[in-house]
Symmetry: C3
Subunit: 436 residues, 3 copies
Amino acid sequence: PQTVCIFGTGDFGRSLGFKMFQCGYSVVFGSRNSRMSSLLHSGAEVFSYSEAAQKSDIIFIAIHREHYEFLRELTEDLNGKILVDVSNNPKINQYPESNAEYLAQLVPGAYVVKAFNTISAWALQSGALDASRQVFVCGNDSKAKQRVMDIVCALGLTPLDRGSLKAATEIENYPLQLFPMWRFPFYLSAALCLFFFIYCVIRDVIYPYVIENKDSTFRMAVSIPNRVFPITALTLLALVYLPGVIAAILQLYQGTKYRRFPDWLDHWMLCRKQLGLVALGFAFLHAIYTLVIPIRYYVQWRMRNTTLSKVITKKDDPFFTSTAWHSDSYLSVGILGFFLFVLLGITSLPSVSNMMNWREFRFIQSKLGYLTLILCTAHALLYGRKRFLSPSILRWYLPSAYVLALIIPCTVLVIKFILIMPCINNTLKRIRRGWE
Amino acid sequence: PQTVCIFGTGDFGRSLGFKMFQCGYSVVFGSRNSRMSSLLHSGAEVFSYSEAAQKSDIIFIAIHREHYEFLRELTEDLNGKILVDVSNNPKINQYPESNAEYLAQLVPGAYVVKAFNTISAWALQSGALDASRQVFVCGNDSKAKQRVMDIVCALGLTPLDRGSLKAATEIENYPLQLFPMWRFPFYLSAALCLFFFIYCVIRDVIYPYVIENKDSTFRMAVSIPNRVFPITALTLLALVYLPGVIAAILQLYQGTKYRRFPDWLDHWMLCRKQLGLVALGFAFLHAIYTLVIPIRYYVQWRMRNTTLSKVITKKDDPFFTSTAWHSDSYLSVGILGFFLFVLLGITSLPSVSNMMNWREFRFIQSKLGYLTLILCTAHALLYGRKRFLSPSILRWYLPSAYVLALIIPCTVLVIKFILIMPCINNTLKRIRRGWE
Amino acid sequence: PQTVCIFGTGDFGRSLGFKMFQCGYSVVFGSRNSRMSSLLHSGAEVFSYSEAAQKSDIIFIAIHREHYEFLRELTEDLNGKILVDVSNNPKINQYPESNAEYLAQLVPGAYVVKAFNTISAWALQSGALDASRQVFVCGNDSKAKQRVMDIVCALGLTPLDRGSLKAATEIENYPLQLFPMWRFPFYLSAALCLFFFIYCVIRDVIYPYVIENKDSTFRMAVSIPNRVFPITALTLLALVYLPGVIAAILQLYQGTKYRRFPDWLDHWMLCRKQLGLVALGFAFLHAIYTLVIPIRYYVQWRMRNTTLSKVITKKDDPFFTSTAWHSDSYLSVGILGFFLFVLLGITSLPSVSNMMNWREFRFIQSKLGYLTLILCTAHALLYGRKRFLSPSILRWYLPSAYVLALIIPCTVLVIKFILIMPCINNTLKRIRRGWE
Ligand SMILES: Cc1cc2nc3c(=O)[nH]c(=O)nc-3n(C[C@H](O)[C@H](O)[C@H](O)COP(=O)(O)OP(=O)(O)OC[C@H]3O[C@@H](n4cnc5c(N)ncnc54)[C@H](O)[C@@H]3O)c2cc1C
Ligand SMILES: Cc1cc2nc3c(=O)[nH]c(=O)nc-3n(C[C@H](O)[C@H](O)[C@H](O)COP(=O)(O)OP(=O)(O)OC[C@H]3O[C@@H](n4cnc5c(N)ncnc54)[C@H](O)[C@@H]3O)c2cc1C
Ligand SMILES: Cc1cc2nc3c(=O)[nH]c(=O)nc-3n(C[C@H](O)[C@H](O)[C@H](O)COP(=O)(O)OP(=O)(O)OC[C@H]3O[C@@H](n4cnc5c(N)ncnc54)[C@H](O)[C@@H]3O)c2cc1C
Ligand SMILES: NC(=O)c1ccc[n+]([C@@H]2O[C@H](COP(=O)([O-])OP(=O)(O)OC[C@H]3O[C@@H](n4cnc5c(N)ncnc54)[C@H](OP(=O)(O)O)[C@@H]3O)[C@@H](O)[C@H]2O)c1
Ligand SMILES: NC(=O)c1ccc[n+]([C@@H]2O[C@H](COP(=O)([O-])OP(=O)(O)OC[C@H]3O[C@@H](n4cnc5c(N)ncnc54)[C@H](OP(=O)(O)O)[C@@H]3O)[C@@H](O)[C@H]2O)c1
Ligand SMILES: NC(=O)c1ccc[n+]([C@@H]2O[C@H](COP(=O)([O-])OP(=O)(O)OC[C@H]3O[C@@H](n4cnc5c(N)ncnc54)[C@H](OP(=O)(O)O)[C@@H]3O)[C@@H](O)[C@H]2O)c1
Ligand SMILES: CCCCCCCCCCCCCCCC(=O)OC[C@H](COP(=O)(O)O)OC(=O)CCCCCCCCCCCCCCC
Ligand SMILES: CCCCCCCCCCCCCCCC(=O)OC[C@H](COP(=O)(O)O)OC(=O)CCCCCCCCCCCCCCC
Ligand SMILES: CCCCCCCCCCCCCCCC(=O)OC[C@H](COP(=O)(O)O)OC(=O)CCCCCCCCCCCCCCC
Ligand code: HEM
Ligand code: HEM
Ligand code: HEM
């Protein structure tokens, strides 16, 4: 079997060695003190760094960057060898150059390849490779890179070639990130939630307390969240489709698609997926909070009360077909909207979207996406139908929250409607096709 | 770094060039007018077509097929080079031969490889490679193909080898398709929905209007969809398992599994997955429409009314254990059926099914699939239990819709039950094992 | 095109040949009787085994192991050839050595590679490659292995290198497994369900029958499952996080992380994912059973009754804000817990978890996981709030079931709370970092 060398008998060196041993490699370790440790897998051999380097033409440097210095003395032994830099830093952009480039400077005669830094020692050891099996690889020598990628494959991991060693900085930053694309959607939705929560508390809790001295604090547990969540969902959903129409207007205005968008628009367009999924989350919460309504003590009490008051006043309880239509239609439209929403979510799963061609993906995301927006907006419009314009719903001059929620969706839909009118649409299509 | 050449500075050429530049390649463009355009990435060089061809041994032809003619004059420059055909056509099967084969005819001395046509210029440019990252590759020369596949990998895409250049037709048609496998299930379910909708409107809206002059149009918003959707779901679910039993009967009858099935059966069997998922969609809708029932104005009004009439008539409201059993059991069975249904859906996700071995997949899809069918059928049977045979449910001689819905599922289950009886099952197993 | 040879014109040989033919290979068969069969694809050629062997340097042995004997006579023809062993056994570990190793013994001069045994003949034939597209490959000669892996790729399948021929045993056992990792979670949850079902039947059905002679059997359809399922879900969820704290205590006690955990703990830790997903399944069932509550006959009858009794006794029906708070808060907390639970489930989908880096995955699974546990425990605690300590809920000295359900979660949370106190946490971190 092929022999590989690992420098450093620390946590990562050991785990990697063990995994490689399992996959049929013969492993030699280089260490400061070359006695065999009981922690290494049986069959492993430990040598001094320079001895170990001679046993194999591929060497994994499982040492922290701070200690790389001593490799400078080994330049001769390492000449012509493939050095695999696996190191990470504790902070993003800690050093001016990436660890791998630093290594390449230290040992100019070696072929440095960056790889394996995204894999955790613990995952290698325990076999629970649940998070990313992707190993990003980069390096200037393509043969050396190929050798490393073959080893990656042999360990059951997926190599991803990222080009030359310049990419090392990015690769080293990758494992330190925590959901960079989700940050903006997250903060945005948190801000929206907070705003609407306070808005609703003012209208639904403080106002009745001040005016009627009624204690409605309990509304903060279910009723108000069930206002805040759908409103946030609808707003976010509209914000997914807003950048598209802004981009279209910009392109129409500039008459070309080759001028770059402003940065904020670019960034916004790139996190639409995340915005959409967060919106789906809120819609999901809305759905469950809604379905739970009839179980609530307050609702059951209200129903009993209504019945009792009818009994007492001996009034009739006539059936209004129009009310039935109203109630049923907004529910029905909401359910259909939610269904399409979920469909959008399912098709964003990487494995599903990967099965579709571009045309199909656009069809779902753009056509069905707009249909979702239309249905959800219609749902909210229908829900508020009667109350919408009545002044009686103003409390301290504040309109009902859903009135605010409808502003952005309606705007987006109206602009989109204008944009798809044949004359404008054709101009736009011409611009996007590249005929200037 | 490696140099590649791109013919054509159009939309796709530019986007591809930019992406390759990012991934560490050095890119030269061939163009009709060889002045540098501001739209190209910095560092790009533009030459005449013949000059550019000499700079690299691999050339991407980012030109529409209609303009290929001029390449005939470059045969000398292109001799021995790898030509990558990236072109698409606006329509399926527009030309007798595929574009790549046409290119190979034009430039007989070159190695033509088809690739990249499934990737959109916009996706390359914006980095939003959400839909397919798969690049289908085909070509007659395996070394040339390997070269192209290496580039595909280096761009972070997934190459899929499709064999010789004959496969180009298929590859060129691929991006023009819009859910070909979903078409039949979609039309079938649309037809079923329409039929049952009209059926239910006749029974539940027109009949009461004619007979009692009662306006029940509001039922069309929730009540009737909540009849139509589960019925369609159940029928489609049964239609997923029907071809299996038909196939078994055919095989038993013919005594061999090596006679081909009729075409319709073959096609039907291949779109069972899609049928099943559409059925799941309808079942999902049924579930939500059902859970929303107690929120509806009509239902709340009816409940109040019942209570009021009890108050007025001063009748007792005794509790019937058998009714409770009935109501609870059909709900419980329906929920369990739905749960298994969702499980079937989850295991159809490409990434999940890919983690299972064949035996596990068959176990879920076939065994649990039948259990799902049994539970769903039982749910509908239990629901209609009492009313099932009573003549009072006939309206204009039309039975309740769910009676129709039960025909196919019951048939499938009965035949399946016969097929798994030991004697028949053994014969079938023998046939399928290959012992004729 | 490249020529490959297949020994055996049985089911698998034929299907494989057909597939390879489709992908551009030229296929020759070796068979006991070398007449062309109508079942083979057109263009196939059939020869005697020894003749066929000479046509290609790569030979697929599509023959059952029992019949391998005759290959011994062909050693000369097979010398230096690549033999691909595709065979499976009917039972796990049926023979002392794997089929591939046996083949290598029989034909010492050939390069034996194990592959394709996980692919079903029927799947190859019908194109419905839904279950695993992964082809595990192992062999001692890396060039031979590479050749086979290239073919695997060319057929549109995914090769996975598993190292030397020693891995063949494992590869041969793989297609015979039926959810090995799910077995323990499944039996555990079945046992828990059964226990709690009986417990609840005693308390909720037998007790009222004995004491009040009341027939509550109907509770077994919905009410009791809706007690058993959430309790099982909560217990399983706690059991997901229990091994982590046990491991931490062990590591603290031993002062090192390099001592192996006892076997049971190791196994437990490796099936936490499965435990968690089963818990999610039960939580899902609980959610639907809960949402269905207001549709049940029993519940509607009870509501009518309550109203009627209020009418008759003419008592007031006052509104208790504290009860409203109580009811709304446990619902709200439960919904949020369920939402995070679903999020954990979504991030376990292989394609999603593969997109995350290790830090992100740990964040979701560990941080949000504990938050889920906290919310779900709080939900159950709040639900039982008042009744929790009251002796009136004891029936035959048996407390309510949810009291039992809370034992493990609370224990886990308390220990975890102790473990994350700065002093202990720092020690633990030091131990886990590898500084002993
Ligand atoms: C639940 C949910 C899930 C989602 N999942 C995803 C997801 O997985 N992936 C994803 O990307 N989005 C996702 N989204 C976001 C959204 O659905 C998509 O971004 C959608 O495609 C936007 O549609 P649009 O018509 O506004 O976009 P676009 O058509 O993209 O917007 C128009 C603008 O895009 C540019 N553009 C588009 N095509 C071209 C072209 N050919 N040439 C030049 N310019 C072009 C133009 O600048 C144009 O002005 C999701 C949304 C939701 C609600
Ligand atoms: C929600 C949902 C999701 C679904 N997802 C999928 C999916 O992802 N993928 C999918 O394929 N299906 C999917 N289905 C469809 C369905 O579950 C499967 O097709 C299921 O396997 C059919 O079971 P069966 O027992 O009828 O099939 P089969 O056993 O396949 O039907 C029997 C017939 O198949 C042939 N056959 C099967 N095995 C052999 C063999 N070894 N040798 C020769 N002939 C054989 C025979 O001709 C036989 O007559 C889904 C269904 C639902 C409801
Ligand atoms: C719905 C659901 C889905 C789930 N899906 C998954 C899944 O897809 N994949 C999955 O793995 N789990 C999954 N789980 C299980 C669970 O969420 C995870 O196992 C979770 O990571 C456990 O968190 P913890 O903090 O207890 O684990 P840990 O932190 O892993 O537990 C601590 C112990 O782990 C060991 N350990 C951890 N890191 C190190 C280290 N760096 N060095 C040394 N030792 C270390 C130590 O022995 C330590 O004592 C799922 C659970 C649920 C409920
Ligand atoms: N742990 C992970 O999960 C993980 C994941 C990805 C990448 N990495 C990277 O892998 C590398 C090693 O990480 P690790 O976790 O294995 O670290 P570690 O446990 O601290 O081991 C570091 C090893 O470096 C060697 N070394 C050489 N000169 C040294 C010096 N002057 N001082 C200290 N040690 C020296 C030591 O080996 P000898 O005693 O044998 O000389 C020591 O065991 C780091 O670059 C890290 O970023 C780790
Ligand atoms: N756009 C996509 O999303 C996409 C996706 C996949 C595949 N493709 C394929 O890529 C190819 C190019 O598409 P494109 O979108 O880049 O088209 P385009 O923008 O119209 O560009 C075509 C280019 O072809 C060159 N060309 C050479 N001879 C020509 C002639 N006689 N008339 C016109 N142009 C001539 C021109 O480049 P010079 O001016 O430099 O000579 C022109 O820029 C097509 O085959 C297309 O099917 C495109
Ligand atoms: N079927 C599957 O789904 C599947 C999946 C994975 C792996 N496999 C493996 O593929 C191999 C073949 O399976 P199969 O399903 O094709 O089996 P099969 O249909 O029974 O075919 C076996 C073939 O072996 C040949 N053979 C040579 N000597 C023989 C002898 N003495 N007695 C009987 N047959 C002899 C025969 O071909 P000639 O008549 O041409 O000599 C026969 O057609 C097995 O090792 C199996 O484990 C099968
Ligand atoms: C139940 C409905 C869904 C409820 C919850 C919706 C959750 C929405 C939030 C998803 C968050 C995913 C975190 C991903 C982490 C990450 O970084 O993941 C990273 C990846 C890749 O991201 P990039 O493309 O940015 O690299 O993101 C994903 O792949 C996200 C896929 C999420 C798919 C959600 C699918 C929802 C399907 C719901 C179906 C069932 C609905 C049933 C309704 C009753
Ligand atoms: C919420 C339950 C689900 C509700 C909706 C069900 C949707 C059913 C339709 C799915 C349509 C997928 C379009 C795929 C487009 C495509 O061509 O996709 C193409 C791919 C590949 O198809 P081929 O195998 O034909 O190549 O298809 C798929 O992979 C489809 C996978 C769909 C998986 C659905 C999983 C549902 C999981 C639900 C879990 C949560 C349930 C929660 C219940 C409360
Ligand atoms: C609807 C909520 C979900 C309801 C049901 C939850 C099902 C839980 C059980 C999942 C069983 C998966 C069987 C896998 C078979 C297998 O071996 O699969 C094998 C693979 C790989 O396993 P290994 O890691 O052990 O190799 O397992 C998986 O990948 C399991 C992924 C399951 C993901 C479940 C995701 C649920 C998402 C729900 C979203 C929508 C929620 C909507 C709420 C209204
Ligand atoms: C399962 C599907 C859905 C159902 C059953 C449903 C039901 C309801 C109900 C009953 C209300 C009234 C709530 C109340 O009385 O306080 C409501 C309000 C609302 N819904 Fe939905 N809905 C669904 C999906 C959606 C979706 C997908 C969206 C959009 C993203 C949405 C947006 C809204 C909005 C904005 C309101 C007004 C909130 C308010 O101010 O009270 N709904 N919905
Ligand atoms: C969440 C799970 C489910 C619940 C709670 C549920 C509940 C119900 C209810 C309450 C009814 C009566 C509807 C009415 O009064 O109009 C019903 C009817 C029905 N259900 Fe379900 N069901 C579920 C799942 C399913 C599934 C998975 C199927 C099959 C695919 C199914 C098929 C049917 C059918 C065919 C009817 C009869 C429709 C009619 O004619 O009214 N159900 N279900
Ligand atoms: C959709 C979200 C949820 C809702 C609406 C919900 C609602 C409820 C309701 C109404 C009850 C009282 C049931 C009864 O009266 O018999 C209950 C009980 C309970 N729930 Fe949840 N729940 C949810 C999620 C969860 C989750 C995720 C868990 C934990 C895994 C959980 C654990 C429990 C437990 C242990 C009980 C006590 C069961 C008993 O003994 O009756 N719930 N829940």
